[in-house]
């Protein structure tokens, strides 16, 4: 599993890729830890761009659950975007569509979460 992240105004967009299975779910947890434990001041939401995530196991979903709980405790929001069909099926079967907000794209998520982050995203996309 690979991982990268960037800040767009008050939103952190994190992009894991590959398989998030039992063997490497902990790596996702470690990658997310800084923004969950010590989010930059003013951060309002975390968007997980799953466009390049091929598979997620129950352990990977557990990492998302922990992240959702920690962020909500700080009154922050969490969203997952761009699910591949197989990953979307896994989300639906596990009922994770009730755990995090799910959007078809990063842009759609930012539109719902933060006008400032959306503006930054659109500038970046030009």
């Amino acid at each position: 599993m690979q991982f990268s992240s960037r800040s767009l105004a008050d939103v952190v967009v994190a992009s894991p890729s590959g398989q998030i299975d039992h063997a490497n779910a902990e790596r996702l947890q470690q990658a997310l830890a800084p923004m969950l434990d010590r989010p930059a001041p003013g951060t309002a939401a975390l968007v997980l761009d799953f466009a390049d995530v091929e598979y997620i196991s129950s352990m990977g979903l557990r990492v998302l659950m922990v992240a959702a709980k920690q962020l909500r405790a700080r009154s922050m929001r969490i969203a997952v975007t761009s699910l591949r069909p197989v990953v979307k099926e896994i989300f639906d079967i596990a009922r994770f569509n009730h755990v995090t907000e799910v959007f078809p794209s990063v842009r759609a998520a930012l539109q719902a979460l933060s006008p400032a982050a959306l503006a930054a995203y659109d500038i970046e996309a030009r």
């Binding site: 196991s57 129950s58 197989v86 896994i90």
Partner: protein, 320 residues
Amino acid sequence: MKCVRFWGTRGSLPVALTASAVREKVIGALRGAAGRNFASAEELDAYVDRLGMAGAGTYGGHSPCVEIETGAAEYVLCDLGTGVRPFGQRAIARHGAGSPQTYHVFMSHVHWDHIMGFPLFTPAYIRGNRIRIYGGHAVLEEALRRQQAAPSFPVDFSALAATIEFVRLEPGHAYDVAGLTVSLMLQRHAGDSYGYRFSSSGKTVIYSTDSEHALTDADETRRFVEFFRGADLVIFDAMYSLADAISVKADWGHSSNIVGVELCQMAGARHLCLFHHEPVHGDAAIDRVLAETRRFEEITRGGYAPLTVTAAYDGMEIIP
């Protein structure tokens, strides 16, 4: 091992179909049959079969009781939920009240839904019958005696005429009972529960209910995978969705269909049977969980061997 027969498959609380649920099934079946002609009983049977459990059947509502038919004369059961009552009636109908039988019962734990059938288990009232109750809990006998004490039940445990023995088992040992090799494993559940591995003639059945598989402890996961290793049938507590099992219902001591599939895949098991159904789920909801679990197995199969997935219902029989 000839057959595994399910007498009670519901978790937490026995349930029954309501009049409105039966009416809904009848109306659906009649609507579906409108304009059709059934030339033979076979055609009619085929039509009813196509309606599935939600349209023409029910998963049932007895609390846990599973029979393992070994091929020998002595009976082997897992748990004493309300399903043990129809089991007992059938045993008496088969042998007659005057023909003493031996019943071996393996207890996952002593929560109410797993013991509540025993006061109405008729063979316990018949002199000459022998009932051996096995488990890992020190409180096994106390729990069964207490539920029959006044004012909870009119017949005290001491009035039961059968010979009733309690046998304490320990994980890490293999026991020979009624032709089966039996081992047990401590599971995560309030007050502890135990999963069982039954083997005979090259066949293995796992009974693992009321067990929360957190999967956060790699060593624990590895131990369960080894316990399930190569099983022909895994009877698995899949009461909740994964999201519920690790959030609002975390620490409630139950697991999900997703984790059931993953453990069976890692263990190379052949057949996963979803068990301990959520009592608020109707037949259509269990049908949906079953279909989703089969789909999950399909999309996550990868290099694993195909895993058969079924949902237990009262009266179901599986040949391991």
